[in-house]
């Protein structure tokens, strides 16, 4: 009865959502977004602060943001304040988790110990995943991905090791320090921008040539920091969740 009632209610909500959204004047049909009428056009053309006619991969130099990945240029340049906030969300969630499980000791153990196949197999791919993570956040301005996927890869590697080896234990203090330092450096980087060009988080480094490794100014630097931070934060969360129930 409750379910039927909920179903009816949700159906009504759905009908109203659909009709409400699609009856709005100017709401684009699917696939017909007018990017040229949105702020995004300037991100694609990289001409928020100066007039660019053309941006060409591997050729254009010294643009306002040198990231070949336009999404990355938004995440770490045009809207990098969001990203700082996002990092903070993860930071504070990890803090919350560790506060909740702060008194726990030891590790959760399952009934069956992982065998050598899983343990060794994981150990073999572990460095591969770690490096993959680093690769992703370092190349965030050139390829899909960036600090968050990269950091997540690092944390996945740690999670894998936890699952594969009952004796595996990260030195969580090292990770906490990494997390704190990376975060602090992110903010400091922003403050340096504030001092140099009067704008917090401004891209004060040379942005180089679009498409090359050393380009995009502070973007790769930020992504490295974000990657390290996210990686250590997620590791912290995982470690906390796997803590035992002993108090």
């Amino acid at each position: 009865m409750k379910r039927i009632f909920a179903l009816v209610l949700v159906a009504v909500v759905g009908i109203l959502l659909f009709s409400g959204i699609y009856s709005m004047e100017g709401f684009p049909r699917y696939g017909e977004a007018e990017v040229s009428e949105r702020v995004s056009m300037s991100y694609i053309d990289k001409n928020v602060t100066r007039e660019n006619q053309e941006v060409v991969f591997g050729v254009s130099e010294n643009l306002e943001t040198g990231s070949a990945n336009i999404v990355t240029s938004i995440i770490v340049n045009y809207r990098s304040f969001d990203t700082l906030g996002e990092v903070t969300v993860l930071f504070v969630s990890a803090l919350g988790v560790s506060l909740l499980f702060g008194s726990f000791e030891g590790r959760l153990r399952s009934r069956y110990k992982p065998n050598f196949i899983l343990r060794t197999g994981s150990k073999v791919v572990f460095p591969l995943i770690l490096v993959m993570g680093a690769y992703i956040f370092i190349h965030g301005h050139l390829s899909p991905g960036g600090g968050f996927p990269g950091g997540s890869m690092i944390a996945s590697a740690i999670l894998l090791m936890y699952l594969a080896d009952e004796d595996f234990r990260v030195r969580i203090d090292d990770f906490k320090k990494t997390e704190g330092i990376a975060g602090a450096m992110y903010v400091l980087l922003g403050l340096v921008g504030l001092m140099i060009s009067n704008y917090f988080l401004s891209n004060f480094l040379d942005t180089g040539t679009v498409g090359t490794l050393f380009s995009a100014g502070i973007i790769p630097v930020v992504y490295v920091l974000v990657g390290l931070k996210v990686g250590s934060e997620l590791t912290g969360i995982i470690t906390d969740f796997l803590k035992g129930e002993v108090e």
Partner: protein, 83 residues
């Protein structure tokens, strides 16, 4: 033309795995079929990279493969010993 053949076969693989995913009967069977599908999907991403001539998809394929493995292990360890 060749691509069509290739994708038809890939699709068949996915389809049968999906059937197993739906029929089970145990969660392990479902995870197994999911694992298989994931491998097939990472391979398909590589194929897409070839078709779009864009190496960026290779990175995605790797990440996908990693997450697929992790998923299998997580489920396996989580389900182990539960009947």
């Amino acid at each position: 033309m060749m691509n069509a053949f290739v994708f038809t076969l890939v699709g068949l693989g996915l389809f049968f795995s999906l059937l197993r995913l739906l029929t089970g009967p145990t969660p392990f069977d479902r995870v197994l079929s999911l694992d298989t599908m994931n491998i097939i999907i990472s391979g398909s991403i590589v194929l897409i990279a070839l078709i779009f001539n864009n190496a960026l998809y290779l990175d995605i394929a790797i990440v996908y493969a990693v997450l697929a493995f992790l998923e299998t292990i997580v489920f396996a360890r989580y389900l182990e010993g539960r009947s």
